[in-house]
C-alpha cells in the first residue's frame, strides 16, 4: 500500500470514526503517571523506563484490536516497510493525531526510525533537574511498549527504544524500531 494511501486512510478514520478527547487531559494524565512512577521508584529512572514500557506493552496488546477494527484493513502488510508506514500514518494518526516521519532505514529493511515532530505527551514537560533524569529517563517510553505489544499480537517481534528526545536537549525525538523476527503461530508447549 502506498504511503499516500495510508495517509488518506488515517485522515479518514481520524475524521469519522474516532472519539476525541481534550489534549491537555491526555498530557496531564500521562505526566502524572510518569511523575508518580518517578516518586514510587525513588528516582530510579531505568526502572521507570521499564515500567512505562511494560504499561505500554499491556496497552499495545489491547489497542491492536481496536486499531484493526477501525482501520478495516483485513489485509496484512506485505513487508516491514509497509508496516512502518501504517504505524505512522494510520496508527499514530488515529490515536494521537500525529504522523511521525519514517526514516533511517537500514539496508536490510529491518530497522527504521520514527522521528516525532510533535509529541502530545511531552507538552509543557521539563525533566527534573537532578542531573540524572536528563540522561536516564525516556519520558515517552510508553510508546515503545505500545508498539512492541501491538506488533507482537500480529506476529511481529520488535525491539523499540528511544535514541533521542527534545526534552533532553536533542534536536529531535527519535525512536528506533527493529524487527527481530516474524513469530510463527506456535503450538502451545506440550506438557509431557
Amino acid at each position: 500500500m502506498a504511503a499516500s494511501k495510508a495517509s488518506r486512510i488515517g485522515e479518514e478514520i481520524w475524521k469519522t470514526r474516532i472519539d476525541k478527547v481534550n489534549a491537555e487531559l491526555v498530557t496531564l494524565t500521562y505526566g502524572t503517571i510518569v511523575a508518580q512512577l518517578c516518586k514510587d521508584f525513588e528516582e530510579d529512572y531505568p526502572e521507570v523506563n521499564r515500567q512505562l514500557d511494560k504499561m505500554g506493552y499491556n496497552i499495545g496488546l489491547r489497542l491492536i484490536d481496536d486499531y484493526l477494527a477501525k482501520s478495516n484493513t483485513m489485509k496484512r502488510c506485505s513487508n516491514f516497510r509497509e508496516t512502518a508506514d501504517m504505524i505512522s500514518r494510520v496508527g499514530f494518526k488515529i490515536f494521537l493525531n500525529i504522523t511521525p516521519q519514517v526514516t533511517n532505514w537500514t539496508a536490510d529493511n529491518n530497522s527504521f526510525s520514527l522521528v516525532f515532530d510533535e509529541n502530545p505527551f511531552a507538552d509543557f514537560v521539563e525533566l527534573p533537574d537532578d542531573g540524572r533524569a536528563q540522561n536516564e529517563l525516556w519520558y515517552s517510553n510508553i510508546l515503545c511498549g505500545v508498539l512492541r505489544g501491538a506488533l507482537e499480537m500480529v506476529q511481529m517481534q520488535v525491539e523499540a527504544h528511544f535514541i533521542s528526545d527534545v526534552l533532553k536537549g536533542n534536536d529531535t525525538t527519535e525512536m528506533r524500531v527493529t524487527l527481530i523476527r516474524y513469530i510463527d503461530d506456535e503450538l502451545p508447549p506440550e506438557d509431557d
Partner: protein, 223 residues
Amino acid sequence: MSAAIPSVACLGVIGRNKSATRLGQQLTKSHPQNNPLHISIFPSYDPTANAFTPIRNPLQFSLLLSSTIDVFDLRSKTSTASGDFGLLHAIDDRLAAYGFETNTGVRMVCIVDMRGRRVEAGGSGVAGQGGGAAGASTASSTSASAAARSSVGSVGAGLRDSEIKPVFRAMQSAYVRLLQNPFYDPDEHAPLGGKGGRRITSKKFGDDMKRIGEAWTPGVTTL
C-alpha cells in the same frame, strides 16, 4: 537626541497568601506566607555611564516587592473581578509597581522604570538592551518605540494599565505552563506546617520571565 522610555525593572511572583498550620490533627490558624516564588531583575539604562545597570540591588527589589503585599491586601477587599490591580504604588519619580492577582492568590508584580531605556528620537528604534535580546521583531519594536515616543511627554502621568496588561497576560501563561509540567510540585509552595518558600527553579520559567521583561515596551500588545 534621545529620549527615555519606560522599561521593566523587575518582575516578581509572590506565592499564595494562606497556608494553614497543622497542630496535631487540627488546623489551628492560617497565616500569610507571601513567599517570593520568583524575582527577575532587569538592568536600566544609565546615561551617565552609558551602560545598563540595575537601578536597585536585589535586596531593595525584594523589599519593594514585599511592600506591594500590603497594597494587594488592602485592595483585595474591594478587588476587581479581572485580577488586575493596576498601579499599586509609585515608588519614586522613576519606579512604579503594577500588580496582578490570579484567582488562586498568586500575585504578580511588575516594577517599571519610567526611564529605563533610551530611544533615539530620530527613530532608529530601541537602543540596545541588557542582553540585546529584544524578543519583538524589528518592525514591531520600531512601531512600539514610535508609540512610546509619542507618550514620552506623559511619562510623569504614568502608564495606562492597558499597557502593562500584556506583561501580566504573558506572566500568567508562563505560570500556567509551569504548573502543567508534571514534575513541578506546586504543593511545596503552600505546605501544611507553614515552612514554605521554596522558589521556582524552572529554567524555562526563568527564561520566559527574562524574555517578557526584555521585550516589553509601551505599546507592545503581545509578549
